[in-house]
């Protein structure tokens, strides 16, 4: 094997310019893929974190049918007090769950005594909400940025609404809502902060203390609209979702009548489609890399075989078995792939590190000042390199096979 490798390396050096061109092409492909993967996955992760840490959580639990009607925030589809207690118990007993926040969501009228508009309100337990959605504080552009912003009697007003209504921190406003029995109730509240928008559903909601929500809706016991859940390992979100679902199902006698529905953030946010598109683009970019490697290696190896016909004839004549001749060319193609992959990996890591240091800022939807800090998962680097190496072998197969099948007598006659 060592001799095969030595001969392969020397043949690569023998056609220095051509080998360099091939290695550069492969390296370019690897750089393109890895930088794209780094930037796109960092962008995706950043946006997902923005969405999940700002308001959505990684998982949500609702009563069955609630999500389908979520635009109307139906109070009659809230979880019953007992169901809410049961769900909370499951979440407390699931170690994979980092924190959770129960919410009462309802539609209401927002009045500053001169104008009135509608608002979607979340009644939350402040400590739990800030723990589950840690970026909540960063969205508060004016006013108190701590849990005190959601003390009883206070409201965090969405920025768009505050601008439209001219509301400022310290202003007194009235929230009026209809409860599920149809009676109307209102409560005077003080604006404690202005909440900047975030991309996706719930990004323009206002927040109040859960007790205030119960008071406005005249609830005697907590009827929860949704549980927002933060998990410890978001990359295992599907498995954790299934686990929570199973544990909730275990609490009911008839699983067919399971009252709970568990949704991941991807099932609730339209950004999941963008994330899927990014993933799809990554697949296309990888396909391009495969094409680049395939064509480059195939071309260079066909040339190598064509130019070394007499040499192949000689080594075949002196008794080199076809398998060894096949190996000679496969190893040569493999080394071209490895060199290209290594060069590409080196340049990619340098570019990604440069981009990381640059801290490129951008806006996406309502979110502004997002900082892109691309990083690359070593697994992605390994996949790209393995792909290049695998395709290099594949591309070398045909020329290598052709070389190994050459009749020495014909090859020796070749001019």
């Amino acid at each position: 094997m060592f001799k095969l490798a030595k001969i392969a390396v020397r043949n690569i050096r023998r056609y220095r310019r051509r080998s360099l061109l091939t290695i550069s092409l492969i390296a370019f492909g690897v750089v393109f893929v890895l930088v794209f993967v780094a930037v796109s996955s960092s962008f995706k992760d950043l946006m997902v974190r923005q969405i999940t840490d700002s308001y959505l959580g990684d998982l949500q639990i609702h009563r069955r049918g609630y999500v389908a009607s979520i635009e109307t925030l139906p109070l009659n589809l809230n979880l019953s007090p007992q169901q809410a207690v049961n769900a909370a118990k499951v979440l407390q007993e699931t170690p994979e769950v980092d924190s959770f926040s129960e919410r009462i969501k309802f539609g209401a009228m927002f009045s500053n005594f001169t104008e009135t508009t509608n608002i979607r309100v979340n009644g939350v337990v402040p400590e739990r909400e800030f723990a589950t959605c840690p970026q909540m504080a960063t969205r508060i552009s004016a006013g108190d940025k701590s849990v005190k912003a959601l003390e009883k009697g206070k409201i965090l007003v969405p920025a768009l609404l505050a601008r439209g209504m001219g509301s400022k921190v310290g202003d007194t406003v009235v929230i009026v809502a209809t409860n599920k029995d149809g009676s109307v109730n209102g409560k005077t509240m003080v604006v404690s902060g202005i909440l900047e928008s975030a991309t996706g559903p719930g990004g323009r909601d206002g927040y109040i203390h859960i007790d205030d929500a119960m008071e406005i809706l005249r609830m005697t016991q907590r009827e929860i609209s949704e549980f927002a859940i933060s998990v410890q390992r978001p990359e295992r979100i599907d498995a954790i979702s299934a686990l929570v679902q199973a544990r909730l199902a275990a609490m009911v006698k008839d699983p067919a009548k399971m009252p709970f529905q568990v949704h991941t953030w991807a099932e609730l946010s339209p950004f999941a489609n963008i994330a899927k598109m990014v993933d799809l683009m990554t697949v296309f970019i990888k396909a391009m890399l495969i094409a680049i490697v395939l064509i480059s290696i195939l071309n260079v190896m066909i040339m190598a075989v064509y130019e070394r016909v007499r040499e192949i004839g000689t080594i075949a004549a002196i008794g080199t078995l076809p398998g060894k001749i096949l190996s000679l060319f496969l190893v040569e193609g493999l080394f071209l792939g490895i060199l290209g992959a290594l060069a590409g990996m080196g340049v990619s890591l340098a570019v990604i590190f440069g981009l990381y240091l640059w801290k490129f800022t951008f806006s996406f939807g309502q979110a502004t000042g997002l900082v892109l800090e691309p990083t690359i998962d070593p697994l992605q680097v390994a996949i790209a390199c393995a792909m290049v190496i695998g395709v290099s072998i594949l591309a070398s197969l045909q020329p290598a096979f052709k070389a190994s099948r050459m009749e020495p007598i014909d090859a020796l006659r070749h001019v």
Partner: protein, 233 residues
């Protein structure tokens, strides 16, 4: 004892329009340890005959045994294996692997064909290189060697596996007379040193006289056998 026995060998190359009879019923026997030349004009069938003996090609008809093996029946892989174990080749254009040094070229059959262990391999290669007078140039690439030196390396490569038979097709065609003569003398000396049978083809009248036995071919037929320095060559 005969190393090679050929009986009624024919070889016909057929194209779409014509049929070329390269060999027409050639029969002969060659003893082990012979230093023999096939001579004749271009197109007389010398190379075809060497290709058949070297298991690089198969006859259209007839029998051919090399070292008691019916080589006409060997499959592709078996033929390669047989060549690797029993036959050394010397080519007109030297055919050294350009990326390997003189040492590595000679070492090649021991690594890629016979898989000798490192220490024995090295010892053997140095011995053969010394025998052909190329020890000092062992680290040089073929492009750094003269024609005569390249052919010396090629002879060393052919001998390194201790084959029963070395086939040389026009080994001196690309060399000047003096070098050609030295190469033929070297081949003979190697035969004496290693006991290997040497068969070469040539139409160079200046070196034919070095052969101990000469088979003359004309139009694919063996026309005469001459023992040692035939008068009419």
């Amino acid at each position: 004892m005969s190393l090679i026995v050929a009986h009624s060998l024919t070889k016909t190359y057929a194209t779409e329009s014509i049929e070329v009879k390269a060999l027409q019923g050639v029969s002969f026997e060659i003893e082990a340890g012979a230093f023999l030349a096939f001579v004749g004009p271009s197109g007389s069938g010398k190379t075809t005959l060497l290709n058949l003996i070297g298991c690089l090609d198969k006859p259209s008809s007839g029998r051919l045994a090399v070292a008691d093996i019916d080589v006409t029946q060997l499959e592709r892989k078996a033929a390669a294996s047989f060549r690797g174990q029993n036959i050394g080749f010397i080519f007109q254009s030297f055919n050294l692997v350009p990326v390997l040094t003189a040492f590595e070229n000679v070492e090649y059959p021991l690594v890629m064909v016979q898989e000798w262990p490192l220490v024995e391999r090295r010892e053997r290669v140095l011995k053969v290189l010394k025998a052909v007078g190329m020890l000092e140039q062992k680290a040089q690439l073929p492009e750094q060697l003269s024609g005569g030196q390249k052919q010396r390396v090629a002879i060393a490569r052919a001998l390194v596996t201790q084959p029963k038979l070395v086939l040389a097709d026009e080994p001196t065609a690309n060399l000047d007379h003096e070098t050609a003569y030295r190469i033929i003398r070297l081949m003979k000396q190697m035969r004496d040193n290693f006991g290997t049978t040497f068969i070469f083809s040539t139409h160079d009248t200046r070196i034919i006289g070095e052969a101990e036995k000469i088979h003359t071919l004309e139009d694919g037929r063996l026309v005469e056998d001459q023992e040692r320095r035939a008068a009419n060559v």
